[in-house]
Structure formats: C-alpha cells, structure tokens
C-alpha cells in the first residue's frame, strides 16, 4: 500500500498491480496495515482524523475523529481490531475498538521515543507514563485492556522501552544524559539495572537478540555493550575504532568503477540509455587490506544530539550477526559475529549510511546510503545492486518483505520493489 496526497493505492506485492484505490479526506500522513492484513488505517494528523479501509470489502469504511484533542500518532493494536490514537501534547492515548465501538483512555502517556511497546505475541502492552515528574510503566492485557501492573521506574527521564522477543522481560532505558538500562520482568519486578558509566552521554540505541539471550546497548561513547539474559551483566564490549587492524576482519570497500563505453556504439545525439550509463557511476566492492583506517568525523561539540556513538543496531534473524553503525564513522557498517563476539566484516561505503535492515528469513543485510544503489551482504559475500532507470533514485530507506524475497526501496517521492531470486536447488 502506498499513499499519494489523499489517495491510498493498494497494489499486489509480487506484480505491483493496482488492486484498490481509496480516497481520504485530507492528505495522508501515516498509513499502517493491520496485523492480519485486512485493514489499512490512514491517519491525517492535521485534521485529527483516522480512516480505516477494508481490503475484503471496499465499501466498508470507518472514520475516527479525535476532534479538538488533535492527533499526533496512530497505530494498530496487535490483534488488528483496535486503534491507538495519541492526542496532541500527549494528553492521552485513546483506544478505539472496531468491534465494540468502545473507547478506553490511557492517561498521562509520556512523550518519548518509544513510549508504547507490544510484546511479540501481542498479549501485553507496556506504556510509559509520567506523573508528578516521575516515570511509571503500565502493563496492559491486550485482550480486554485491563491494567495488569503499574510500577514506577528509577529513571530520570525514561526514554524508551522494548519487550524482549520472549515477552517476559521489558528493557527500559533512560535519557541520553544518564546511562541507565533497567530490566523488568513481566510481573513488574525489577530484575536488574545496568549502568556503564556516569557522566558522558549514555544510551543511543538498544536491540534485543531474537532469542532474547542478549541485549545490545549502543551508546554515545562509540561502544556496544552486550548483556546476557542469565545474569544481566555485560559479557563484552564491542568497540568501533577508526582503524581496523585485526587480520580476521574482512573490509569491503565500495569503489567507483569507471564506466566502460563501447566506442562503436557511440552515436550522436546520445541515446538516453547511453547517457545515463555514461553519467551514472557504477561501483563495486573491493577487499581492502588490513590495516584499514576509516573516515572518522568529529562532530561539533556544542550541538545537542551530536552525531556520535552507535546509532543503529540490528540483530540478524538467525541470531548470528549483529550489524551496527557508529555515527562517528558514518560510511561504515560493522557486522559482528555473535557466536564469537568478534568483528567479522566491515562495509565501507562511499556515502553516509541511511538505513539498513536484515532479511527476516536469512542472514542477509540490505544497506542503502542515499545513492541509487542498494548493497546486499551475506556471509557468502556482498554485491552492489544498481537501481535501473534514468535519473537519480536516492534510496533513503528500505524495508524487507516478511517472506524475505523482495525488498521495498524508498526515496523521497518514489518507491520501487526489488525482487530477489531464489537460488534453484
């Protein structure tokens, strides 16, 4: 599904054939599929309206109006039948039910980066609240939206929460001014609290491993600390130095390939295809010899939220690899082997990394850097895939299909789907 101004276009994923067209009342700012892929919600923040469309019955419609409360965020609940709207100024979260038309309110939600978290199985929802300058976490049962637990946290300013994939542990971390990671069990008990250091800027990103065995914490001091689930103590620190000297690390460097032109095929005026191939730079991967020194950027010291530290963390689906990005070295993706807890591969790109995501089925990483190429890495090697077509297609973000055989590449106002062929066995 994609939206264009006030129109919602639904296409088939394998053929990109338009299946449905819907019109909304205003410019759509946000769309989301329900978990069973039967409904799509379209949120229009300016008007405070959420419209829901059904795929099965194109005539069915639903409109939720928040009125003067305003709308800041909207999302589905995991059962696909409730919509959570966050009103302006985070005054409250309204839970609208599509089944019973009933409304529930959650008061005092906190306006933080990840204030609402659902468990993987969709049973429980954790919400961060703030009352009287203190942070609280409420755990709700998604079935009937009953409050299960409500407890306070010892944080200065809770920044985000995330459930472990096994649904039994909730990680909560404090604002970046204070390095503190708290781990709560499902019933609200504090299992452990972890603090690496006191004064410098703290946690920047957090990721659970798919088996819930490890919690990777990326911080502003350019290190990733991994905690284990048995003792909740640090088992290792992964550093991101600017110079890589270990002999066991493979460094792939993207280099520009000068385009080859067949002199016979030159014609005047040059055809479009030729022109694009002449002027678009091709690139390929080269293996650099260790020791390699990467481009290190020291950011301006007096700005808030500096581009320092480990900003992106992702575990691969099979729990074997961890991909990280150090914002000080914005052109490189670091891939760590989780079994050995050592750096195995570094991908050095020509431009700043915008986004990367692991394939949900295999240990395959897709990286985009804002150029018109998407980069794929797997333990077998890495390739550069050029998006064909004329003009610049600057890929800003990408998203894998849940089946792992195709990928959505998004630029500012275009998108394209990249299909990956399955190897014939």
């Amino acid at each position: 599904a994609s939206c264009m101004q006030h129109r919602l276009v639904v296409r088939d994923a394998s053929s990109l054939q338009i299946l449905q067209l819907y019109s909304c009342l205003d410019h759509i700012q946000y769309i989301e599929w329900s978990s069973d892929s039967l409904f799509i919600l379209c949120a229009m923040y300016k008007r405070g309206i959420v419209q829901v469309w059904s795929l099965e019955q194109p005539d069915w419609h639903c409109k939720i109006d928040e009125g003067s409360a305003g709308l800041v965020a909207s999302s589905w609940s995991p059962d696909g039948r409730h919509i959570l709207n966050t009103t302006e100024f985070h005054l409250r979260i309204t839970v609208w039910s599509l089944c019973t038309k009933s409304v529930s309110y959650i008061k005092y939600p906190k306006a933080c980066q990840q204030g609402v978290a659902f468990t993987k199985d969709g049973r429980y929802m954790a919400v961060v609240e703030r009352r009287d300058c203190k942070d609280f976490i409420s755990i709700f049962v998604c079935n009937n939206w009953q409050l299960l637990r409500h407890f306070d946290t010892e944080t200065q300013d809770l920044f985000g929460i995330e459930w472990a994939p096994n649904g039994c542990v909730l990680a909560a971390w404090d604002t970046c001014l204070e390095y503190k990671v708290l781990l709560y069990s499902l019933d609200g008990r504090l299992l452990s609290s972890y603090r690496a250091y006191e004064w410098p800027l703290g946690v920047k990103s957090i990721a659970w491993s798919p088996s819930s065995q490890f919690l990777a914490i990326g911080s502003f001091d350019e290190k990733v600390r991994i905690l284990n689930h048995v003792t909740w103590k640090k088992i290792t620190e992964l550093e991101h130095p600017a110079t890589i000297s270990s002999k066991k690390t493979i460094v792939y460097k993207e280099v520009e390939k000068s385009p080859t032109v067949d002199s016979e095929r030159l014609s005047f005026p040059p055809t479009r295809a030729l022109a694009s191939s002449l002027f678009s730079t091709q690139s390929k991967y080269d293996i650099s010899q260790v020791p390699v020194s990467l481009q290190y950027i020291k950011p301006v010291a007096d700005r808030a939220n500096p581009k320092v530290g480990v900003g992106m963390l992702a575990f691969s689906a099979d729990n074997c690899f961890l991909a990280t990005k150090n914002d000080n070295i914005p052109n490189a993706v670091w891939i760590w082997d989780v079994r050995r807890l050592k750096l195995s591969v570094v991908l050095e790109q020509l431009c700043t990394i915008q986004h990367f995501q692991w394939d949900p089925c295999q240990p395959r990483l897709a990286v985009c850097t804002g150029s018109s190429r998407v980069y794929l890495w797997s333990p077998a090697g890495c390739i550069v895939v050029q998006v064909p077509g004329e003009g610049d297609f600057q890929i800003m973000s990408l998203s894998w299909n849940s089946r792992g055989d195709s990928m959505l590449l998004l630029s500012k106002d275009h998108f394209c789907v990249c299909y990956l062929e399955r190897e014939e066995v």
Binding site: D36, G67, N144, L186
Partner: protein, 551 residues
C-alpha cells in the same frame, strides 16, 4: 800536584754513589782526557813520589805492595802487573756494578715514569669520573625536580578534574530541579487543556463505522470483572513460569553436557599420566591422590546417574579435575626437561642419536609391525575364505592374492630395509663427524703451538736490525747507551753481545745465559757459536776477535 789530584780522585771514588748520569761520564773519561790526566799525575820529576803514593794507596786498598821488598826503590813488576790486573778487574767489576746500578737506576727511573704516568692518568680519570658524577648528580637532581613538578601538575590536574566533576554534578542537579519545575508547569497546562478538551466535547460521534467488525479470533468481547483480572494475573504468571522452566531446562542440559565433558577430560588426563606402580616412593602422594580420585570417580559416576547437582559434588569434580590437570602439567614439564637434556647430550656425543629420534623411530617401526600383522591377519582370513570356494577359481584367486600380497610385502620390506640402512648411515656419519672433529681440534692445537713458537723466533731474529718491536725500556735505554758511548767498536760489540745475551736470556729460556763469559771470549779468543742457537752474533765475534788482534 797530588793535592790537586787527590780531591779529584776522591771525587772520582765517590762517583758511583750518585745517580747522575753525568757523573758516570766523568768516571769513564774519554781516551784523550785519560792521557792528559795520566800525564798530569806523574811526571819526570815526581816519579818517586807518585810511585810511593800509588804504593800507599794500593796497600790501603789491600793490595800487596808494589815494591820488591818492604823498603827499597825496586819495583816488583809482577806485583805491579798483578796490582794492575787486580785494579783492572776491580775496575771492570766496578764498571759492571755501575752498569747494573745504572740499569737498575734506569729501570727504576722508567718504572717511576711509568708509575707517574699511570698516576697522572688515574688522576685524570678520577677527575673525569668525579666530574661525571657531578654531572650525573646534577642531572639526577634536575630529573627529580622535574618529577616533582610533574607530580604536582598531576595532582593539580586531578584536583581540577574532581572540581569539574563536582561542578557537573551540581549543575546536573540544578538542571533536574529546573526541569522538574518546568514539567510541573507543563503538566498543569496539559491538565487545563485536557479539561477544556473534555468539556468541549463534540456532540457528534467520534467514531463512525459502517458496521462492526468481528474480532480477530472470533470470540465475543468479555466484560471486565474481577474474575477476568484474576485470570489475567494467572495467565501472566503462567507465561513467566513457562519461560523460566524453559530456561532452566536449557541450563540443566548445558550443565549435564559440561559435566560429561569434565568427566571425559578427567578420564583422559588420568590415562595420560604415567602409571604409578614403578616408583612408589616418589609418587607416594600422587598415588594416594590417585586412589582418592579413583574413589571419587566411582562415587561421582554413581551420583551423576542420579543427576544430583549439589554443591559438594560440583566442588569435588572441579577439584579433582584441577589436581589431575596439575599433575599432567608437571609430567609434561618433566618430559620437556628430559627431552632438552637429551638434546644437549646428543649434541656432545654424536654417535648416540637423541632420544626423541629414537622414540620416533621405534614408534614408526612399531606402526609398521602393526600394519604387517594386520596384513597377515587379513591374508589368513582371505585364505580361509578361499578354502570354501571353487577349486579352480580358488587356486587362481589364491595365486592372484598371494602374488599381490607378496609384492606388497616385498615393497614394504624394501622400504623397511632402506630405512634401516639410512638409519645406519646416519649413525655412521655422526660417529665419523665426531672423530673428524677430534682430529681437527688436535691439528688446530698443534698449529697454534707452532705458530706461537714461530712468533717467538721471529721476534728474536728481528732484534739485531735494531727495529726492536718489543717495547722494553731496557732495550731502548741500551740503545741510548750505545749512542752515548760513541764509536768504540770493542765496547759497542761488548754491549751488543751482552745485550744479545741478555735478550736471548729473556726471550728463549732454552739458551743458557752466561754473561760472565764474554771477557773470557776476548781473552781466550774462542768461538762459542755452538752455545747460542740460531744466533748470528758468533760470526761477528770471530771477526771482532780478529779485529782486536789486528789492532
């Protein structure tokens, strides 16, 4: 005249006591002056007086009187000649004594010079080292003061850091306080807004739905009751419990695996250690420990079957493993030492191969034997098989197999023999090398002795040409003497001969020094060339004798 002469002669007599070389010159006046001196003492007029004077002097010196009888003017010529001879010999003796004294004096002088030089040098060195010490002390002092400065700086920096941290913490608390204040204000605003929003409720339905949608799981919605709350709690705890159980199962499995591995390791270690039967004395403790361990093993095996994992069992297992590991380590270290010792021994005696090689060889041979035995077994089996088969085919097959086997065996035997031969060759080469080494060493020693002898001899040959390389002050001073004496051939020759004698006496102990015989040469005119081995001087002496005679 005699008065004039007397002081002069007494002065002359006193001369040997002084150390001045100029006096020496005076004691041996030149030929010319001697003549004038003689004429000055005795003239035509005072013959009687001079004779009587001489007689008196001689008698005072202990010589017999030169007069024929106690009174009378007749001179006893024989007595005179004897006296003269005595005087001459005395003179000679005195001269020699003088020479000796001079030499001694020169030696002492050179020693003194040498010592003075040494002293001067040592004083210089002492000076230098004192200055160095002072310099080093100065540097040390500077470094210490620098060190102190750096320490001070470090302390200052640390203090500053502490101060900054305090500042940061105080600022942080201040910010927090301010943040809280602002947040409270904000909350108040939000509350107000909320109230307004809730009050200003739109009358129209906030939600418009065409029709209700069924729940995802098809069930109906339930009312909120206490029972549901209890059920929620129950479910939550069930989930938690199941998670914990799963984890515990995993941990149990891991534990069991690890315990198995440890047991295996223990068994392996025990098997690796050498058997304890031979040396009960040395290994009495180890033996005891081992027996304990074996008991433990039995116990542990039993216990592990029941999968107990209590503290004591775990401790026992780890302790026993640690002990075994330590013993194994000691054992390996001992083996290493033995091997290194064996290596060093092997280097000395090359006819004995090192223990390692020996062991390797024996291992190889054992392996080969094993293989051969196996082959024989298989052959026997095949033979038995063949017996049950058809006759013709069995015969054929037998032949084939036998041929094959035989060929293979022959190959193997050939290889084995070759290896043995190589082995023997190597051993022989090692012994030969050792023998050669011994011989070479002996030859080298002989060469060295010969070379040294040659060196000595060459040095004695060189001395005659006055390019003396041996730096003895004694020789140099003699050279000086030679120049001082002038051109008296006899004396020069005498000098050189004596020098030669002395030199040879110094350098070649085989030649017997007889310096006193020189005068006899002159008097007896004998050629003593045989006495000096390889000496060129005898010829000259002969010549000089001839020269003397002619003169």
């Amino acid at each position: 005249d005699s008065k004039n002469i007397l002081p002069y002669t007494s002065e002359r007599k006193r001369s040997p006591t002084s150390m001045n070389s100029q006096v020496l010159r005076l004691s041996l006046p030149s030929a010319k002056s001697m003549h004038s001196f003689f004429s000055a003492f005795c003239t035509e007029e005072n013959i009687e007086q001079s004779i009587s004077y001489i007689d008196r002097e001689l008698t005072t010196l202990g010589f017999p009187s030169i007069y024929a009888e106690s009174k009378g003017k007749e001179l006893n010529l024989i007595a005179i000649i004897n006296c003269m001879n005595e005087l001459l010999t005395l003179q000679h003796k005195n001269l020699r004594a003088q020479e000796e004294v001079e030499m001694q004096h020169l030696k002492l002088g050179s020693d003194m010079d040498h010592l003075q030089n040494c002293y001067a040098k040592l004083k210089e060195q002492l000076e230098l080292s004192k200055r160095e010490i002072v310099g080093l002390q100065e540097r040390d002092r500077q470094l210490q003061s620098k060190n102190r400065n750096l320490h001070q700086l470090l302390k200052n920096e640390k203090d500053e850091v502490q101060k900054l941290q305090n500042i940061i913490s105080s600022r942080a608390t201040q910010y927090n306080h301010d943040m809280k204040r602002k947040e409270r204000e904000y909350n108040k605003l939000k509350e107000r807004l909320h109230q307004l929003v809730m009050n200003k409720k739109d009358k129209k339905l906030a939600m418009e739905v065409l029709n209700y949608v069924g729940r995802a799981d098809g069930k109906r919605g339930a009312w909120r009751t206490d029972k549901t709350e209890a059920r929620n709690e129950e479910e939550m705890y069930k989930i938690l419990l199941s998670d914990y159980e799963q984890r515990q199962k995993q941990l149990l499995l891991e534990n069991a695996e690890l315990k198995k591995v440890l047991q295996q390791m223990k068994k392996d270690i025990i098997s690796l250690l050498p058997p304890q039967k031979q040396k009960p004395k040395e290994r009495s403790e180890d033996g005891l420990v081992l027996s304990d361990q074996e008991e433990d093993v039995g116990e542990l095996n039993k216990e592990n079957m029941w999968e107990l994992s209590c503290e004591t069992v775990r401790e026992q297992l780890t302790n026993s493993i640690r002990k075994q590991w330590r013993m194994l380590k000691n054992h390996v270290e001992k083996l290493d030492n033995q091997v290194s010792r064996a290596h060093s021994e092997a280097l000395n005696e090359k006819d004995v191969i090192s223990r390692e090689d020996h062991e390797l060889e024996t291992e190889k041979l054992e392996l080969e034997i094993q293989q051969c035995k196996e082959m024989i077994k298989t052959q026997q089996q095949l033979l038995q098989q063949q017996l049950t088969c058809d006759d013709d085919t069995t015969l054929l097959l037998q032949d084939c197999y036998l041929l094959e086997e035989r060929e293979r065996l022959q190959e193997e035997w050939r290889l084995f023999r070759e290896q043995k031969k190589n082995f023997e060759k190597e051993r022989k080469s090692f012994t030969e090398a050792a023998i050669r080494l011994g011989l070479e060493r002996k030859a080298f020693e002989e060469d060295r002795g010969a070379w040294l002898k040659h060196q000595f001899l060459s040095m004695t040959a060189d001395s005659k040409s006055e390019n003396v390389t041996t730096p003895s002050a004694f020789l140099r001073s003699n050279l000086q003497l030679m120049s001082l004496l002038g051109s008296d051939p006899d004396i020069r020759l005498l000098k050189s001969a004596s020098r030669q004698r002395k030199l040879s006496s110094v350098l070649s102990p085989t030649v017997s020094p007889e310096p006193c015989q020189i005068s006899q040469y002159f008097t007896q005119k004998s050629v003593a060339s045989e006495k000096l081995a390889g000496d060129k001087m005898p010829n000259l002496w002969v010549e000089s004798d001839d020269k003397e005679e002619t003169e």
